[in-house]
Amino acid sequence: MIFLTLVFSTFREAIAKKIFIGFFAISTLIILVFLFLINVDSIEGMVNMVETSGEEGIKQLVIGFQVVMINISYLLIITFCFISVSSFIPSMLEKGNIDLLLSKPVSRAEIIFAKFLGGVLLIFVSLVYLIGFVWLILSSKSGFWHVPFLYSIFWLTLSFAIIYALIIFIGLISQSTILSIIVSLFLVFIVCPILFLREDTIFSLVNNEAAKFIVNFFYYVLPKPTDINQITTNMITGEPVKSYMPVFSSVLFMLAALSASIFYFKKKDY
């Protein structure tokens, strides 16, 4: 019960800080834009055109929409989530708040795990709303109920969870919301895409074996949300997934970040 109270408190904090409202506003806006788009004449015309090319054409169009949707979710929603949840740990560590929390019969490991789970559930619920609604709209409009699109809820949540573990760790060490946001966004939108495309970008410029080793080292050690996003896209489009290594190594990164957070939090004096 104590653990659930902590998890629920994360939800309550998200509601109080208008994170939920913000998320639902953005999601609803995306859904409305989506509704508008699939009803405009040009799209209707496109639908009519592909209808003449048969069921396969409709499927391709729906899948195309879904892939666009995943990328929008990845860019907008995940960014919004990172910014929103980055304050959870620093606000928990504020003097007068952390003292009281640690005086309760709850272990420090449970506190970290509850904060983590609370944040992840928050994003999961939000993604169910966004992805679920888009899926319902697209499926009812096209008659093509493409279930793999719903899997993206899990994959996007996982991508978030991996980076959120890092945000928790940075938040614990620095007690800074801004630093947590900067590091997570820098990692997700600059470092990870560059490392994902390292063969086309860095390796085409650098031919040094030592440099390649260092770049590869960072690629394998750091989380790989870009790769996971690619795996999600492949699953929706039905293309084969070359390797699940990015998922496993990212989950390992997440576990390492959480373990380091718990270790640090247990040792720290407040």
Partner: protein
Amino acid sequence: MKVITTKNLTKEYSTKNFSKDKILALNNFSFEVESGEIFGLLGPNGAGKTTLIKILLGITHPTNGEIKIFDKEITNEAYKKKVGYLPENHKYPNYLTGEQVLHYFGMLAGMSKTDVKKKADEYLNLVDMEKWRKTKIKKYSKGMLQRLGLAQSMLNNPELIFLDEPTDGVDPIGRKEIRDILNNLQQEGKTIFLNSHLLSEVELVCDRVAILNKGVLVKTGRVDEITAVSDNYVFQTSDIEEALINKLFGNYKATIIDKNEFSFNTASVAELNKLIDFVRQNGILIHGISREKNTLENMFINLIGSQN
């Protein structure tokens, strides 16, 4: 039964992260608190009082030493179910109402929903915050937050309550009410560990005190023993002529305070009466004689002042 026991408790802090320079916040601190007593912890700023409370609550880790709470060594968080805590400058999530604060921290203390509701009603009433229960705490004054904090610390019916500056920001009437609450808690058999700068209040409610200075225990004892009456008598008299002063105070080791007031220190009643006779024989009228009482504040100032 001993509720708190510490032996050679030591806490060192690094002055900066990864620095080898250390500050000794507690130095071989050993003391005991008995069940059912109100124990006051006194000391100047930076003496190590809050550090001690935080160590006892597992918020800060000791560098060395032993701690027993409820006669058991602290090995996990279970003992905290029987502990209440009001931190200094506590900060509750300001988006919660008073009622929600109690609900949240009650649940964190391991209480059931039904118990939390029942106790929240009871304690909000006790601290006179009933009418503010639905108001967000960001609208509360400092005194109201203290009252709510006190209710929070008592909510889980703890056997041991740590109160760090409980009357901070509370008006005199509120302080009296808090003192009454503490006395009632003591009658219910609770042990209270009080940390306060207000020595007059500590004197009014505490059974025993410990005085801490620079991390070292400098004195511990019962308040009534520490503040026992002294052997100093203050005389209020008619004006004493200048010529008489030397004569009067040459024979007796008295200290002049004013031309119509002096003090005299003696443990002998016979000697006191001899002085009274002497004063009267010299035509000085005695308006009053009072025996001085040591206050905790006087004792504290003398003790800490002599050490610094």
